[in-house]
C-alpha cells in the first residue's frame, strides 16, 4: 500500500475511533458535564481547521476570514431551519430540515468563496489575506444588523432595525434579531458532528491525494514551474478555495444548530486567527496535525479553567512546545522514521514574499 494511503487510513480511523468513543461515553453518561460540553465544539473546530488547512497548507494561500464563511453557513442554515420550522404548511421531518439546512449553508459559503476567488485568485501575492480579512468583518457586520420576522403575511426583512409589521399581523416570530442573534433549533449532537466531520475529512483526503490536489501543491511550491507544465493555476486555486469555504460553511451550520442563542459577534477576526493557529501549529498541509492541534489547543484552556490565571500561561507553553515539536530537527527525523505525515512547510513558507518577476 502507498505510504500516503496508509497515512490517510490511520488518520481517518484514529479520528473515527476517538470521536465515536467519546460520543458513546457521553451518551452513557460516564463523562462529566464539562467534557461532554466540549465534544461538539471540538468536532466543529476540527472541521474548520482541516478545511482551512486546504487553503493555507495545501494551496499555500493565507486566508484570514475563515470565520466569515462559517458565519455565512451558520446564518443561512439557521434561517432555513427557522423558516421551515415556523411555516405551518410545511411538514418536514427534523432530520430532513437539518440536512437541507446544512447543505444550503455549505452551498452559500461556497458561492461566496467563488465570488471572492474569481477576482482575487487571479492575482499573485498576498491579496487573498487582505480580502478575506475584510470579508470576515463584513459578514460579521451584516449578520449583526439583519432582522427577519415571520408572521401570517410571510417574511419581513429589516436592516439595522426590526421591520414594521402590518396591522393585521398575527403570530409574529422574530427569527433573526440583529445583535441579539438567532435561536436555531438545537439539532446538533456529537454523533452528527462526528459523521459530518468524517465525511469532510474523507473529501479533503481524496481531493488532496488526486491530480487536483497535486496541482494545488505544485502551484504552492512553484507558481511559475506549475504554469510551465501546463497547470491552469487559477482553476485549481479557485477549486481548493471553494471547497475550503464550503466545508467552513458546513461547520457554521453545525455550530448555529448547537448554540441556544447565536450572536454574530462570535464570528470575528479572533476566531479566524484561532483556527489559523490550530492549522499552523498542527503543521501546514497535515490534516492529522490539524486534528490533533485543535483537540489539544481547544480542550486545554477549558480543562485548566480551574487553575485560573495560570491557564493562559499553560496555553502559551503548549503553543511553544508544539512549535518546537513541528520544527526541531530531532522531531522532524523522528517523525520521518516512524513514517508520520510531516507538515510540508514551515512558517516562512506562507508568510514569505512570493518572488515577483520572471523565471530565471
Amino acid at each position: 500500500m502507498r505510504k500516503q494511503t496508509k497515512n490517510n487510513l490511520i488518520t481517518f480511523a484514529g479520528t473515527a475511533v476517538l470521536f465515536f468513543t467519546f460520543a458513546a461515553l457521553s451518551q452513557a453518561g460516564v463523562l462529566n458535564n464539562m467534557i461532554t460540553g466540549l465534544l461538539v465544539p471540538i468536532g466543529i473546530y476540527v472541521i474548520l481547521a482541516i478545511s482551512l488547512n486546504l487553503t493555507v497548507g495545501v494551496l499555500g494561500e493565507l486566508s484570514l476570514g475563515h470565520a466569515g464563511f462559517m458565519c455565512v453557513g451558520a446564518y443561512v442554515s439557521g434561517t432555513v431551519s427557522l423558516v421551515i420550522q415556523n411555516s405551518p404548511n410545511l411538514n418536514v421531518p427534523d432530520w430532513l430540515r437539518f440536512t437541507v439546512a446544512i447543505i444550503l449553508g455549505g452551498v452559500m459559503a461556497a458561492v461566496f468563496g467563488v465570488l471572492i476567488g474569481i477576482p482575487v485568485l487571479r492575482l499573485r501575492g498576498d491579496y487573498l489575506a487582505i480580502v478575506t480579512l475584510g470579508f470576515g468583518e463584513i459578514m460579521k457586520s451584516l449578520a449583526n444588523n439583519i432582522y427577519l420576522v415571520m408572521d401570517n403575511n410571510g417574511l419581513h426583512f429589516g436592516f439595522t432595525q426590526a421591520p414594521e409589521l402590518a396591522e393585521n399581523s398575527e403570530g409574529a416570530n422574530e427569527l433573526l434579531r440583529g445583535p441579539i442573534g438567532m435561536a436555531a433549533p438545537q439539532d446538533t449532537n456529537i454523533w452528527i458532528v462526528t459523521v459530518v466531520l468524517l465525511i469532510c475529512l474523507a473529501i479533503l483526503m481524496m481531493f488532496i491525494d488526486s491530480k487536483s490536489g497535486r496541482a494545488c501543491m505544485a502551484v504552492r511550491d512553484n507558481y511559475i514551474a506549475a504554469q510551465s507544465v501546463g497547470i491552469n493555476v487559477t482553476k485549481f486555486r479557485l477549486m481548493a478555495f471553494t471547497i475550503s469555504a464550503a466545508i467552513a460553511g458546513v461547520a457554521g451550520a453545525l455550530y448555529s444548530h448547537s448554540i441556544s442563542l447565536l450572536a454574530a459577534k462570535k464570528f470575528d477576526y479572533n476566531l479566524s486567527i484561532l483556527i489559523l493557529v490550530f492549522v499552523v501549529l498542527g503543521g501546514l498541509g497535515s490534516l492529522r496535525g490539524s486534528i490533533i492541534a485543535t483537540i489539544i489547543l481547544y480542550a486545554l484552556p477549558e480543562i485548566f479553567r480551574e487553575v485560573g490565571n495560570y491557564r493562559m500561561l499553560i496555553y502559551a507553553i503548549v503553543l511553544i512546545g508544539m512549535m518546537i515539536f513541528n520544527n526541531a530537527p530531532f522531531f522532524v527525523q523522528l517523525r520521518e522514521r516512524i513514517g508520520a505525515s510531516a507538515p510540508v512547510q514551515k512558517f516562512k513558507g506562507i508568510f514569505k514574499k512570493k518572488n515577483a518577476g520572471g523565471a530565471e
Partner: protein, 257 residues
C-alpha cells in the same frame, strides 16, 4: 535554406524592452526538427529572457514566435505548454515539498481525463488513470536513473539529480520542443559528461528537438549541431557549431576586450 516543414521553432525579429533596456533586440533563429541547438553568450546577454518569451512568461515587445508552423506569440505559459514547449529553469524550480514521483505526475496530468469529482469519489477512472500515470512516471524516471528515489522529497535530492528531475518533469508534458536553461550549471565534469549522454539519449528516445542554453563549452561543442551567440541582446554569430566557436568575434566576446 530548408523547407518550412522541417523547422520546429522559428523566431522572427524578437525583441523585448525592460524600461530603458532592450534585453533582446531583433533576434532571428530557426531550430530544425530533431535538432540539438545551442543558445550561448556572456552573462546578461539575454538568453534566459529569450526562453521566457518562448514560454510566455514575458510578452515580447515585438516580433513573432512560431512553433511547428503555428504562431504562439503572446500566448500564456499554460497554452504554450499545451501546444508543445516544455522547459527547465536556470535556478531549479522543482515542487520542493512533493515527492520525486509526484513532480513528474504533475507534468503528466493534463493528459488524464478523470475529473475532480471522480477523484474525490474514487470512481474507476481515477484508479485506472492514476495507475497508468504511476507506471509511465516510473518509466520516465528510469531514463534519468531516478526511479530508486521516487518517494523521496524532491528538495532532498542532490543538486545534479534535481536538474535531471526537472528535465523528466518537462518531458512528462509530452513536448515537441524541450528548452534547457543551463542544464550543466553546478555539475562536476563527470556529472556533465553523464548529462551529455542523457541529453543525446532523450533526443533519440523521444525524437525530441532540443534548444539549450549553456556556459560549459565542452558540452556545447560536444552535443550542439548549431548555435546562436547572443551578446547584449543581439545576435553576434549564428551557424554550425565549430564554425561559430572559432569565430574571432565570439572569442573576443567571451574573453572580454
Amino acid at each position: 535554406m530548408c523547407e518550412k516543414s522541417t523547422s520546429m521553432l522559428e523566431v522572427k525579429e524578437l525583441s523585448i524592452q525592460f524600461g530603458g533596456l532592450r534585453a533582446v533586440d531583433g533576434l532571428n533563429m530557426r531550430v530544425k526538427k530533431g535538432q540539438l541547438y545551442g543558445l550561448i553568450g556572456p552573462n546578461g546577454a539575454g538568453k534566459t529572457t529569450v526562453f521566457n518569451m518562448l514560454t510566455g512568461v514575458y510578452k515580447p515587445t515585438s516580433g513573432g514566435i512560431f512553433l511547428d508552423g503555428a504562431n504562439i506569440t503572446g500566448k500564456s505559459p499554460v497554452e504554450i505548454n499545451k501546444s508543445g514547449i516544455a522547459r527547465t529553469f536556470q535556478n531549479i524550480r522543482l515542487f520542493k515539498a512533493m515527492s520525486v514521483l509526484d513532480n513528474v505526475k504533475v507534468g503528466m496530468q493534463n493528459r488524464t481525463k478523470y475529473t475532480t469529482i471522480e477523484g474525490i469519489l474514487r470512481l474507476p477512472r481515477y484508479f485506472k488513470e492514476e495507475k497508468q500515470m504511476n507506471e509511465k512516471a516510473v518509466e520516465l524516471l528510469k531514463v534519468f536513473d531516478l526511479d530508486g528515489e521516487k518517494d523521496a522529497l524532491s528538495a532532498n535530492l542532490p543538486y545534479g539529480k534535481q536538474r535531471k528531475l526537472e528535465i523528466a518533469r518537462a518531458l512528462a508534458t509530452n513536448p515537441k520542443l524541450l528548452l534547457l536553461d543551463e542544464p550543466a550549471a553546478g555539475m562536476n565534469p563527470n556529472e556533465t559528461a553523464e548529462l551529455m549522454d542523457t541529453i543525446r539519449f532523450v533526443r533519440e528516445k523521444f525524437d525530441m528537438t532540443i534548444l539549450l542554453i549553456e556556459h560549459d563549452m565542452k558540452l556545447v561543442a560536444g552535443i550542439c549541431e548549431e548555435l546562436t551567440v547572443l551578446n547584449f541582446g543581439q545576435e553576434l554569430a549564428q551557424g554550425e557549431t565549430s564554425a561559430v566557436l572559432n569565430d574571432p568575434k565570439v572569442i573576443t566576446a567571451y574573453l572580454g576586450d
